[in-house]
């Protein structure tokens, strides 16, 4: 069967194509449209998936949307009614939003693709998350937790998944928490309070948390209280999900925690106010971890299963993931490369294939590389047109290792684009991990971002335990950079560029079979430096999506302090003279 999965209309639109039970293409719309977190209908992503497989829309057996618009409308309308009359400001906006397009998504998909509506189906949002987490994981049986802001009604679900010997698959939901009681919305409200963009800045809260102490956790517990059955409930007096949709926190929240940070206000961690923000971040983070560990522990006891699959935006919280792995009693924790809404496109397509249409299960290749591949010849042409030194080389790994050892910063483009928010070795900026100065240089010259945000390392799997304190199952969690673990104390000074203030790192443990070229580069760098670890950050500038094509990589290279751009076997070097000329030559 040929099944297209689609997610979109909220944030992180994406499309994924499954043919005969195997993913063949998946890409986020933002990587093609170049609008970060593009929430529009993912037409470009759909077109690319179909083109990649040589299909036309008529060839598709089914198109699956990742959530049920009528259920979502039910929740939005009920929320407005429950908030009456206070919801009067948000009601027109919400209704225009839902009635304008979102409610009619089946018709929209059918008309955009030129197919009949009978071939378009919708499944529930958290089913998509669960399928993305479980059906892609190399496990036959696992407990499943999905947690995000909100889907239709559910905000957090627990269940189990089974792949049987006869080829059939089952995802069984046991129970759910419903809007407005949401761990994701709680964290997003704190994100907004700290002046970061919701659905984008949550990882900044996690980074900031390491600089603070959870001194306000008792106050946080007033916001989010446990229930007798092991779940939790939000005290809605502290939140305003209807009146202030963009922020979500109420005046009472502000009365409790003090004035919120303005978006443009820098965080100075030496100031009293900066420390207050860091403590609030640390408190929210600690409570989120506590709740997730509690729910996971209960589920492990209930199911007795050894594996846990985690999906939804909350699964991007690597600190919480690592705590779950250490404390909840599971032997392995699987987080897909795209646990957020973008990953739902693949989840929805797999769910339809395995469960809706009952096709036999097939193991999904255990990598995140489902997007477009770069065209190195184009890079060579563009660089030569601009008079920038560029050449093909068969010794590219050794040359790049030399450059990294000489403290050069490398833009690395290799193979199919990653599916998900992390750069896992195909669209990465690589640098030596040893010095704080390198981290500061990256922040200053390339990423232009806050000083409190750490950079992640990538390490060859064979050497991971030497440098990082991986818990049992930690290497698996770190496959897609989904867990934060301590850097071994004796290595922290030699890995200062990637060691966060609390001595941890969000490491990627790279198996040779997942990305042989980057693995070879790590080994080559290890031969030079004695440390087969590199700093690995996403290949993009602030406010832009990760690069897709070589043209985008090249324009990024031209605009920032990257010294060397590599795509396949093509190396483009930025000489100092040219760097200055680039900026001024036509002025």
């Amino acid at each position: 069967m040929k099944i297209l999965g689609i997610s979109g209309h909220y944030h992180d639109s994406a499309a994924a194509l499954v043919i005969d039970g195997m993913p063949v293409a998946a890409v986020q719309e933002e990587r093609l449209s170049r609008h970060k977190n593009d929430a529009g209908f993912p037409l470009a992503a759909i077109e690319w998936c179909l083109d990649h497989a040589g299909l036309s829309p008529d060839d598709l057996d089914a198109v699956i949307f990742y959530e049920k618009p009528t259920l979502k409308f039910d929740r939005v309308l009920t929320g407005m009614l429950q908030g009456w009359p206070g919801s009067w400001r948000s009601y027109p906006k919400a209704m225009k939003n839902m009635l304008g397009e979102k409610l009619w998504v089946r018709g929209l998909i059918a008309s955009q693709l030129g197919i009949g509506t009978r071939r378009v189906h919708c499944i529930e949002h958290h089913q998509s998350h669960a399928a993305a987490a479980f059906l892609t994981a190399p496990t036959q049986e696992a407990a499943i937790i999905t947690a995000d802001g909100v889907g239709e009604w559910a905000t957090l679900t627990v269940g189990t998944g089974t792949k049987r010997a006869d080829g059939s698959s089952e995802i069984r939901m046991l129970r759910e928490l419903r809007f407005p009681h949401s761990l994701g919305l709680f964290y997003s409200a704190v994100t907004a309070y700290l002046g970061f963009a919701v659905n984008e800045g949550e990882y900044k809260v996690m980074g900031l948390a390491s600089y603070g102490q959870p001194t306000r956790i008792d106050d946080m517990r007033r916001l989010l209280r446990p229930t007798a059955d092991g779940a939790f409930t939000l005290d809605l007096a502290f939140f305003d999900f209807l009146g202030k949709v963009e922020s979500g926190f109420s005046d009472r929240f502000v009365a409790l925690f003090g004035p919120p940070r303005k978006r443009w206000q820098p965080i100075d961690l030496r100031s009293e106010q900066g420390r207050r923000f860091a403590d609030i971040a640390a408190s929210a983070q600690a409570l989120l971890e506590e709740v997730m560990v509690g729910i996971a522990t209960d589920l492990q006891r209930e199911t007795g299963m050894r594996d846990l699959c985690l999906g939804g935006g909350v699964a991007l919280n690597g600190v919480a993931n690592a705590r779950i792995l250490r404390e909840a009693g599971f032997a392995r924790l699987f987080v897909p490369s795209a646990p957020g809404d973008a990953g739902c496109a693949l989840g929805a397509a797999l769910y339809a294939d395995r469960i809706m249409f009952g096709q036999p299960h097939k193991p999904v290749p255990d990598h995140p590389f489902w997007g477009p591949k770069p065209d190195e010849a184009t890079l060579l042409r563009i660089a030569q047109e601009d008079g920038i030194p560029a050449a093909r080389s068969e010794q590219v790994i050794e040359e790049v290792a030399d450059a990294l050892a000489a403290d050069k910063i490398v833009g690395w483009v290799d193979g199919a684009l990653e599916y998900g928010p992390r750069a896992l070795g195909h669209r990465s900026i690589l640098a030596a991990p040893h010095y704080v100065a390198m981290r500061d240089r990256l922040n200053r010259d390339i990423k232009y971002r806050e000083e409190f945000r750490p950079f992640a390392p990538v390490v060859a799997a064979e050497h991971a335990d030497r440098f990082f304190e991986l818990p049992p199952g930690g290497a698996r969690l770190a496959r897609f950079m989904s867990g934060v673990v301590p850097v071994r104390p004796e290595w922290q000074s030699r890995l200062a560029g990637i060691t966060h203030v609390d001595g941890t790192a969000r490491v990627q443990v790279l198996e040779r079979d997942m990305e042989p070229r980057l693995h070879a580069l790590l080994e080559a760098y290890g031969r030079r430096s004695g440390v087969p670890v590199l700093l690995n950050t996403s290949f993009n500038l602030a406010g832009e999506p990760i690069v897709n094509t070589v043209s985008e990589a090249y324009s990024t290279f031209r605009r920032c302090g990257i010294d060397l751009l590599v795509a396949g076997n093509v190396c483009v070097t930025k000489p100092r003279v040219v760097r200055a000329q680039i900026l001024e030559n036509v002025a």
């Binding site: 406010g543 985008e552 030559n585």
Partner: protein, 262 residues
């Protein structure tokens, strides 16, 4: 104009072409002069607008980067990258001044900003760069830069009690004039016989986009009024029922059976 500055007469010709358009722009500006003066008088509001302008400039810069990535013309690629760098620098300048004003001024600013105050570019007005031909994009950029230059000159004139912000506008205005000039020069280079036609077509497109913005805003207002009336006139009994049902819901987990029963 640099390496490809064929275009000794280009600014003059461009100015001639734009004269009639500029006349109406200036007339409009004169009519709105007291409004601008009032708006820019308040330091908090000024700060907010500058921060908003920073976002518009940053967005315009990203669009220009996209244009550089998509063009097959190496000269345009270089020009767009330099232009994008200028826009990013403007964004930084606006942001720095906006932040400084926020620090200086007492009290807290209210959130929100009227869209019509954004400078001429409006972040390229949502152009889909992948569908724009080089000539069309250059014409669009030229007109946008002209409008931005007019707007910034107008703002600089009304801010007489804040020399730092006035100087900021004047510095950016200088860059906008450069951009106006190079876009026209490049348009003449790549479409020498069609320059006028392309520019007029771009003007019509801008007009159409302005109409669409206005129509969308008007439709939004009408829909908002209708839905607000509906909210207060039709929903109260349903709201009562929804609130009653909400009180009956127990906190915590909802099992599959309970969910099916709902």
């Amino acid at each position: 104009m640099g390496a490809h500055g064929l275009q000794g007469d280009a600014p003059r010709e461009a100015a001639q072409q734009n004269r009639s358009v500029a006349f109406f722009g200036d007339l409009f500006g004169m009519i709105l002069w007291p409004v601008h003066r009032l708006i820019w008088a308040d330091p908090q509001r000024r700060a907010r607008k500058l921060l908003e302008f920073a976002e518009v400039e940053a967005s315009g810069g990203r669009d220009l980067v996209r244009a550089a990535e998509l063009t097959h013309d190496p000269v345009l690629r270089a020009r767009y990258l330099v232009h994008a760098r200028d826009e990013a620098r403007h964004a930084d300048m606006f942001q720095a001044r906006g932040r400084a004003l926020r620090k200086d001024a007492a009290g807290e600013a209210k959130e929100g900003l009227a869209d019509w105050m954004a400078p001429g570019e409006r972040g390229m007005e949502g152009l889909d760069m992948s569908r724009e031909k080089d000539a069309d994009l250059l014409a669009f950029l030229h007109l946008s830069e002209s409008a931005a230059a007019r707007d910034f000159a107008r703002y600089a004139r009304v801010i007489d009690k804040d020399p730092a912000t006035r100087i900021l506008f004047q510095r950016i205005l200088h860059d906008e004039d450069e951009h106006k000039s190079y876009t026209h020069g490049e348009l003449r280079r790549i479409a020498p016989r069609r320059t006028r036609r392309i520019l007029w077509w771009a003007r019509l497109r801008r007009l159409w986009k302005a109409y669409l913005r206005f129509a969308t805003a008007l439709a939004g207002v009408i829909a908002g009024v209708a839905l607000t009336l509906q909210f207060f006139l039709l929903l109260p009994p349903f709201a009562w029922m929804a609130k009653r049902n909400a009180k009956r819901e127990k906190p915590g987990w909802v099992t599959v059976d309970e969910r099916a029963a709902r």
